[in-house]
Symmetry: C3
């Protein structure tokens, strides 16, 4: 398992297990524990959460399983997020869907997450979305308090663009050690708008969410999906796999921006594909064959 | 009256009186003086001009009134702008509408402004528009000369985007202490393109022109205006005002970017609304209710 | 002939001869030598190549002529580019059109260029296109090796946007001493997206390719071309030339961003126009007359 160093005290596994849909997998407590163990057995050690996943339920489902065997905690890195507010029976005070990056919301969100996850400390906390009403001085105060109390070890962001990231960075004392963004051969926005460039400029590794574009690449019937699948098949034949998802993961791993990939499945076979792809090799000709299939035209 | 510190020697009132339309208010010299006094009585101390307003006439109309009671000068901050060239009977040498940020144009524009306004010194001079032909070395020389002679105390820009502001900043010795931009719940461009983010990154307060979108929010019949008004009404009910303009001003004041607002009316009642809004409070739920009405959809 | 300083040891002539189409001019070796001498006689000393021009043939056609009179080398600056891979009988190993900015590709491309051009050293090497798969650490290693061996004296880029240039700059030890971009009154993209601003911010001169928009301005029948020609004619009358190409070149030379222009013709009369324009003067009114004809509307 390749590892990516995010800070002096945190490295994550190149493949990350995503728990966004945990509540919909309908697993008993024991089955959830078994899944965690199977995931760890693949070499994956990093688990990706957010306070809001499953209507504020997924963290607790994970924590309940972890509590059955607390010693597993030492073998894993736990990532979670805050900053989105959802209306939910689990948060009766919330009046609407909006963002909140105030000091009090961040701290209270982290405290909920710690309790739900049955852990003492979060390895990496991400601001889930850029907040157009962000008061970065408040966010900085929240980070300081959470860092000093040991409740959060490292900080980062998710879905931030250049100007948002540069702005927040000016106010906080802790480094932003990753930006978790949507990245797949179906979704090139972050390649094109400078988000990848900034991460490389700052030497900050990226985490890719929806690397398979939520299944659209593998099953979509639109022209773009069909074009991409054709390229994936041809490249797959050359690099030695018939699994198109492995070709997609390899395409992301091949990029020099140090991209880890969130595999968000409840099926160990699907997760294993993301791990297997770490041993495949793709050259520039092959990488561009897929890239140009996405664009629908040659590069200039 | 809240105040916003722009530099070590300049603070402005959170609400600014805008004189763009002074010539169309058809006031006698004495009525203009009375208006200035009424504005000062609200607590507003900052007056926003540009050389070109009213076809190069507004500054002189203001200066003529001020000359009736010169001691008022000490109670106010005067902002003006230069860099746009208009064809006008008042500037017979001008052959067309274009920009000019050359040393000679900036200096001559300031000298006209000082004479027209009947003052010795401008508190804040803004480059009115980013000039695609700007020679920043010339602009820097003009700033130096105007600063050393005491004719201009502070400098800033208007309608600048990130790359333009960063470029100019590299050449000049004086800080750019504000960017005066179009900001309203109807016009989110500067929220979306990084202009607000840059101001917060640089800790530079912003001035908002057209905060009511030139009346389009209050009277427009398009879907967007109707959606925004509905949200403004609902939020107004919650925060305690039935005046939609006050809700709009509160929406801008609530933002952490330190935004002052240019109220450009000749009617003291309209100006007073912008002042009153300083005592209203809006929470994130309410702010996003308006923001999402503008977008026409939920945030992700 | 005006000169533009790109680094402490490199200045180029304001007008540059472009050899992209050399292979299509169908000149004998002796005619090519004669053209080079005629170009030098205009005062132009800078010649612009790329490895791929003419399907990897143009550099060798130039080098073959230069070899007839090697002492000419001392009178010229040679620019070439690498990073694009084309399928070609001259490069049988290439499987497709893509980019390659790996260490091995850059070094091998330079070695081909040196041999083809019959020279010992390249004055300025440009990365031809931003490579979405660029590994900047490899690019940096290639630059170091080429610089230390004396095979390349100076480095730059071509067609880079802000985020790409800032990213690469973080990794390399040599300054990026120019960005060669498409610039003409037909193609304002680089004026509008911050690319020009960044060059001025970094005080890096620009090189303009396709300054006549490949002839579209002079012969196009679309509304935009017709509008631009009308403005060029009117301005030409005022500044003293009936040659529209000279007006276009003057429009570019007048900009303060220190723009050199690549004249890519095999006809000395066309090249001479680009040189002649250096002695014409254009004021802001005239410059904006053309600029606003391009936009199709007035500036705000």
């Amino acid at each position: 398992m390749q590892r990516i160093q995010l800070s002096s005290d945190l490295s994550i596994s190149r493949t990350v297990h995503g728990l966004m849909h945990l509540s919909s997998w309908n697993l008993t407590k024991e089955e959830r524990l078994a899944l965690i163990k199977e995931v760890l057995d693949t070499g994956i050690t990093t688990f990706d959460h957010a306070d809001i996943y499953g209507g504020y339920q997924c963290e607790a489902l994970f924590g309940e399983a972890l509590a059955l065997e607390p010693s597993l905690r030492e073998k894993m890195e736990i990532v979670t997020k805050c900053g989105i507010v959802l209306e939910s029976p689990n948060r009766p005070a919330h009046r609407s869907h909006h963002y909140d990056t105030s000091k009090s919301h961040i701290i209270s969100s982290v405290e909920h997450s710690l309790k739900n996850l049955s852990i003492e400390s979060i390895d990496l906390l991400l601001i889930h979305r850029p907040d157009p009403l962000m008061n970065p001085e408040e966010t900085a105060e929240a980070f300081d308090e959470l860092h000093h109390s040991g409740k959060v070890k490292n900080f980062g962001v998710s879905n931030f663009k250049r100007s948002q990231l540069k702005m927040l960075e000016t106010y906080i004392d802790q480094p932003l050690c990753t930006n978790q963004i949507e990245l797949s051969p179906y979704h090139l926005e972050n390649f094109e708008d400078g988000t990848l460039d900034l991460a490389m400029e700052m030497k900050t590794p990226l985490m890719a969410w929806s690397p398979l574009a939520g299944g659209r690449i593998l099953t979509g019937q639109d022209d773009k999906a069909v074009r991409i699948r054709k390229a994936l098949q041809e490249v797959g034949n050359e690099i030695g796999t018939e699994h198109l998802d492995e070709v997609i993961y390899t395409w992301l791993y091949t990029h020099p921006a140090n991209i880890s990939v969130i595999a968000g499945s409840g099926k160990i076979k699907r997760i294993q594909s993301a791990v297997n792809a770490q041993s495949l090799k793709m050259d520039a000709h092959q990488w561009f064959q897929i890239y140009q299939a996405v664009l629908g035209h040659d590069v200039p």
